[in-house]
């Protein structure tokens, strides 16, 4: 008991050092979403050119992926082939939100690389982006059948993310 004053600071130090050691291996630029397990925000967005837009009501009825993208965003091109694969394999509805973009640029991008989205909403002012708590493009949200956000991917979806996180989650949520 007389040793306690000496051991206590040591224990506290060890706990703090443990926290810092864990912190070393985490990417500080990837932030957890505050909206996990909460309903997706309401939004009604116009479409690209003459196409229909995207509203929250469109997501109802199934598991949905909402992908924020922009023609000026280089990492979006990185994940594009994977989005195309997701769309062609079916099972899950992939929706796009074009963030702070010129419609003609977005249309050109999709003409070049293909359009994986079931519907696209145009968020020129970036307000829907803020309502989702997004802070960069690309970001992808998984929304379950009840309209709740279940997962957020910050940055491009890599092959590993797709196989290890997205696919198991989509299976679990019942997207076949």
């Amino acid at each position: 008991m007389r040793r306690l004053p000496f051991i206590l600071p040591l224990v506290l130090f060890a706990v703090l050092a443990g926290y810092f050691a864990l912190g070393l291996f985490r990417d500080p630029s990837i932030l957890p979403s505050a909206l996990i397990d909460r309903p997706a925000p309401d939004f009604i967005l116009p479409g690209l050119a003459e196409k229909p837009g995207l509203a929250k009501a469109d997501l109802a009825g199934g598991v949905a992926l909402v992908n924020f993208f922009a023609s000026w965003c280089a990492p979006c091109r990185e994940e594009h082939p994977l989005l195309m694969r997701l769309a062609s394999e079916g099972g899950v509805a992939l929706y796009g939100i074009d963030y702070k973009d010129k419609p003609e640029d977005a249309i050109r991008l999709l003409a070049q690389l293909g359009d994986p989205y079931r519907r696209i909403g145009v968020d020129r002012g970036g307000r829907t982006f803020i309502d989702f708590g997004a802070y960069g493009v690309p970001e992808t949200y998984v929304i379950d059948k009840e309209g709740r956000i279940r997962y957020r991917q910050v940055g491009p979806i890599t092959q590993e993310d797709y196989e290890r996180k997205l696919l198991p989650l989509l299976k679990q949520l019942g997207a076949s």
Partner: protein, 151 residues
């Protein structure tokens, strides 16, 4: 001349990224927006406030804060509006709650624990110094000899 330079240095205020076009006409509301802007983290350049950052998102958030203020929100409501979207992370000063207790109280606790450790060590040393030193074997022998001679 020197005084003038010193005066100018003292007058200098940190340059903020708030653009003239974002400012509100109402100085009272603008002042509140400035205070809030210093409290809110820019999520793109994470250690800057939205007032200090010239990131696009910071601009949007500054405009949003002003919109909410004009709409009649209280300061707390504006902060709640943003934390409901971005979590506590958007606040540069984390709120005090069970998950942040370690953050807020850990360092003072360490300081107190260290202080207590030093205090108890110091006390023990003082107590040891006050106690008479036990005699060494040589001294014991010499004492026995002296006592015998005296008696």
């Amino acid at each position: 001349m020197k005084r003038l330079v010193v005066l100018l240095i003292l007058l200098a205020v940190p340059a903020l990224a708030v653009l003239p076009g974002e400012r509100l006409a109402d100085p009272a509301l603008e002042a509140r927006a400035r205070v809030l802007g210093q409290e809110l983290r820019c999520l793109v350049c994470q250690n800057q406030s939205i007032d200090d950052s010239n990131a696009d998102l910071a601009h949007d958030l500054r405009v949003l804060v002003r919109e909410r203020l004009v709409a009649g929100d209280s300061d707390a409501q504006v902060l709640a509006y943003l934390t409901s979207r971005y979590g506590d992370y958007v606040l540069l000063r984390p709120p005090i709650k069970p998950t942040t207790w370690l953050l807020w109280f850990g360092p003072p606790l360490l300081l107190v624990a260290g202080g207590l450790a030093i205090l108890s060590a110091w006390r023990r040393r003082a107590a040891a110094a006050a106690r008479p030193m036990p005699l060494s074997a040589d001294e014991q022998a010499r004492l026995a000899r002296l006592l015998k001679e005296g008696g």
